[in-house]
Symmetry: C2
Subunit: 245 residues, 2 copies
């Protein structure tokens, strides 16, 4: 089930997302936004969106991050771009709300049942969308950045759905004090949140391509954490979409 191009504008960029619709079934399906890792929309997030449609039966939109599906595999190049976004709430909000609007507008999508998931910086995007007050049923992050700029600005009080963060205990990009701050903000706002930690696991544990980078102490695929985090996401989506279990 390959996705079809779904174009939308966001923050002045021409975005080219990939929409995957579940096969069969009349009526409207719940929708899931899939925000990719910082490197941009590539094989990993495209595959996740296909699985969400094919295995779980939800409509999934894999979101473009840098416009025209540009991919930036060079870490020194992408870092300042991330930093700029993380310091600019209107720009972040534009990047994350535009695909939500695009997905919600689809005929086959139940706009009242949409969740967002994301990986690495894509997780930050998912939490940013929630903290901006979007009508999300859930915001889920895998080896997820936790410093969504709207969260730091009190946005936890605007979160409408449930939050799940799944983190490798040894992930140097998401150290314990960052987790503690995230937990504090969500707890004070009374958000229904969960956080799962995986022992011996670092960043990018869901992405088999991570190993090619050759930095196993920082980025490393982990088949067990990949499978376990998928199962926990699946469970929460069933819960918030109110499906029989």
């Amino acid at each position: 089930m390959a996705g079809q191009e779904l174009r939308y504008e966001a923050d002045g960029l021409s975005m080219n997302g990939s929409l995957c619709l579940p096969s069969g079934g009349a009526g409207k399906a719940p929708g899931v936004l899939v925000f990719p890792e910082a490197f941009g929309l590539g094989a990993h997030a495209l595959h996740v969106a296909e699985r969400i449609a094919g295995e779980l039966g939800y409509a999934a939109l894999a979101c473009d991050l840098w416009g025209e599906r540009r991919q930036i595999t060079n870490l020194p190049e992408v870092m300042p771009m991330l930093q700029a976004l993380l310091g600019d709430i209107p720009a972040m909000q534009a990047r994350v709300t535009a695909p939500l609007k695009a997905l919600a507008a689809q005929d086959g999508v139940d706009a009242s049942r949409i969740a967002a998931i994301g990986f690495c910086f894509g997780g930050t995007c998912s939490f940013e969308l929630a903290a901006g007050g979007a009508a999300l049923k859930a915001a889920i992050g895998f080896h997820s950045g936790l410093k969504a700029p709207s969260l730091a600005a009190g946005g936890a009080n605007h979160i409408k759905g449930k939050v799940l963060a799944m983190i490798g205990q040894d992930d140097p990009a998401i150290p314990p004090d960052t987790r503690t701050e995230f937990i504090r903000a969500l707890s004070e706002a009374g958000v229904d949140w969960q956080m799962t930690l995986y022992g011996g696991v670092v960043h990018s544990f869901t992405n088999p391509e991570a190993d090619a980078v050759g930095m196993p102490a920082v980025l490393r695929y982990d088949a067990r954490a990949d499978r376990r985090s998928w199962a926990q996401m699946k469970e929460l989506l069933e819960e918030v979409f109110d499906l029989p279990r």
Copy 2:
């Protein structure tokens, strides 16, 4: 599917456990030890064992804690009994290894595929069993004590299976520094562990009877955390018992 009495001796006490076997199916089923909360073997753990047999298809032994299914609902009475046990590794080991032996000896049980779960002090029992070097596939704790005495004595190095602890973020009985110490010990030993935290949740979140105690800031049933933790346990048991998923 009510359980049948299974008697065994442990630490000089005459224990009266409850064995629940899955219906139908020739061959041997994986087995699960169910250690109750500190108050002793009662309705909650008996019900869990029934569900494990009835819904998941594993043989389950709900373990007696204080002999002859004695229940101690009085916290001031039970606390010194717990403290005495937590300071006595041979006594703890006797209490937890005897039911493992009794379950493994059952005709319908595959002794090579046994896991332990537990609630509150029962979670401590589950981790104590693992840290004593027992051949467990997994040790799982719900609102679980983390200070298993054998862990403090270097027992993390003897753990053979996988570890999962599920904790309410606001549980005053299992504060963050206790979690950090548990994580440190397991990580240093290279154990495959997971820990899930639930926001806004305190102790005894799996036990509907907890609300009758009238201490909601300390003990409180939480239907969402109950269901989510059950799902995560189910997933790990399928993983370690090598079942098709």
